[in-house]
């Protein structure tokens, strides 16, 4: 038998323990699910001020074309349906690595710097993603996996907090990124930080990519600010759910196309017409003929949360699909969920029922996000 991969730790593991983080295994890493403030408090703090998340378990890599003058962003379009070669300098887009059968291998962020592309992928998929990208593009491009920590600073105060440390961050709007340098607080050297104005909470905020040996001092410097609290994976999940954002392996996977997942906003017309990415035929078929199932927001009308796996039925008791993410939204102040239903049931305000512990509970389809997004658009 193959030995099990040993569980990994991020460069902030000791800091998580020091801060009282409750550690759980997640995607092969020992990660804090919550701190003493608790999921509810951490969630509300992030929406009110700023939260600091360790997302160093995510995969970071740089794609570089093998031939000088070739554009890695253009080459990467062979693997994703997003508009990547059209990215301007320091701009980023959300896209998906698609599969030949039409499903989604992973979702990711891609940022252009010159002729290179910076990628951030999900922790649970990163080994497969990197192998897939490297092998699929091996004739044309090289993927340089980056051993870097990643911190997310999210919330309405994030801009002001980071402005003090990294003034270059103030020039960024949502989905823009810049390499900047940060002088370590002990008066020592200056280190490179990739600052990206994006996140997974629906709030304004940043992701900060930094060499692992400097991650802890950056985290401590940010946490020293009165407005910043450490936030665990529990609140990360409730924040992204309120923002209507997909969690790979739950809301999207190999059995869902970008059309079924309601992610067509991330697929420009040019890519649909070119149809030169994995699963393009299925995607165009889904766009032209319509989808059999679609990801929707679902609002239970009572107080009971409906968790992942909960059956969704029509009012007549006809099975429609399943909840793929569900829980309680602290800002919403009630239960919320997303799941898949047939296209005929996907219109907002369609009444459905959720089978929770054997009982049919009333719910309705709603547009997402559940909580207004608060991005800095300019």
């Amino acid at each position: 038998m193959e030995p099990q991969n040993p569980i990994k730790r991020t460069p902030l593991y000791d800091l998580h323990l020091e801060l009282g983080g409750k550690i759980v295994p997640f995607a092969g890493y020992e990660m804090p699910v919550q701190y003493p403030l608790g999921v509810m408090g951490e969630h509300l703090h992030t929406r009110a001020k700023a939260g600091l998340f360790d997302v160093s378990h995510m995969g970071q890599a740089k794609l570089v074309a093998n031939k000088a003058g070739e554009d890695a962003a253009a080459l990467f379009e062979a693997l994703v349906p997003g508009g990547i070669q059209t990215l301007q300098e320091g701009r980023m887009r959300y896209t998906q690595l698609t599969h030949e059968t039409g499903g989604i291998r992973d979702d990711l962020m891609a940022t252009r710097f010159g002729d290179t592309l910076w990628l951030v992928v999900n922790a649970a998929c990163k080994d497969d993603d990197f192998m897939h990208i490297s092998s699929a593009l091996k004739e044309d491009a090289t993927l340089e996996i980056a051993d870097r920590a990643l911190l997310a600073l999210q919330g309405p105060a994030a801009g002001d907090v980071l402005a003090e440390l990294m003034p270059a961050s103030t020039d960024l709007i949502f989905m823009q990124a810049v390499w900047t340098s940060w002088s370590l607080p002990d008066g020592g050297e200056s280190v490179d930080v990739l600052v990206s104005r994006c996140g997974y909470t629906g709030e304004d905020g940043f992701e900060l990519s930094i060499a692992p040996e400097h991650a802890e001092i950056l985290a401590r410097t940010l946490l020293a600010h009165a407005d910043v609290e450490p936030i665990g994976l529990g609140a990360r999940d409730s924040l992204r759910l309120e923002a209507g954002l997909c969690l790979y392996g739950h809301d999207i996977d190999l059995t869902t196309s970008p059309a079924e997942a309601d992610l067509l906003w991330s697929v420009p017309k040019r890519r649909r017409a070119e149809a030169n990415f994995p699963g393009a035929e299925t995607l165009n078929q889904h766009i032209e003929a319509g989808v059999a199932k679609k990801r929707v927001g679902i609002l239970p009308e009572g107080r009971a949360p409906a968790r992942e796996g909960t059956a969704i039925e029509s009012l007549d008791g006809e099975p429609l699909g399943q909840i793929t993410s569900g829980g309680f939204g602290p800002t919403l102040g009630g239960p919320l969920a997303m799941g898949y239903v047939p296209a005929a049931f996907s219109q907002p305000d369609t009444q459905v029922q959720l089978i929770v512990r054997g009982k049919a509970l009333p719910a309705r389809v709603v547009a997402m996000p559940f909580v207004p997004q608060n991005y800095r658009k300019g």
Binding site: Q34, G234, D237, R303, A304, R307, F328
Partner: protein, 124 residues
């Protein structure tokens, strides 16, 4: 009579042949912020170890088991309106349900306060 405890972190307070059941302060601290509670209706028969109530945090749903067999005589409806009471006062106002005992000898299988304190120490 003083409280008795289960390994599932429930407490039982007996008054005559009616037991009041709640979850312990340790249990509420492990759950985190309680956002939803479902308590059983009066008249329901439960066996020892059956699912009797539900308590949910932001993260997850957990069952509260019947620590003893009997008939539910009352569920704490106040928790359905104010689930946070479970966090604020797990030992008293945060009780879940009252149960008329079917078999008082089942009480002998529960822990007293000292035994439960030792049980918690072993968990650390």
């Amino acid at each position: 009579m003083s409280k008795k405890y289960t390994k599932d972190h429930e407490w039982v307070q007996l008054d005559g042949d009616v037991a009041t059941v709640g979850i312990t302060d340790y249990a509420q601290s492990q759950l985190g912020d309680v956002v939803f509670v479902e308590v059983p209706e009066a008249g329901r028969q439960v066996g020892q170890g059956d699912d009797a109530a539900v308590v949910e945090s932001v993260k997850a749903a957990s069952e509260v088991y019947a620590p003893l067999s009997g008939e539910i005589v009352e569920g704490n409806g106040a928790l359905e309106d104010n689930p946070a009471m479970v966090n604020e006062d797990a030992d008293n106002q945060g009780w879940f349900f009252k149960l008329k005992l079917a078999d008082a000898s089942e009480l002998d299988g529960l822990m007293d306060e000292a035994a439960y304190a030792d049980f918690l120490k072993e968990l650390d």
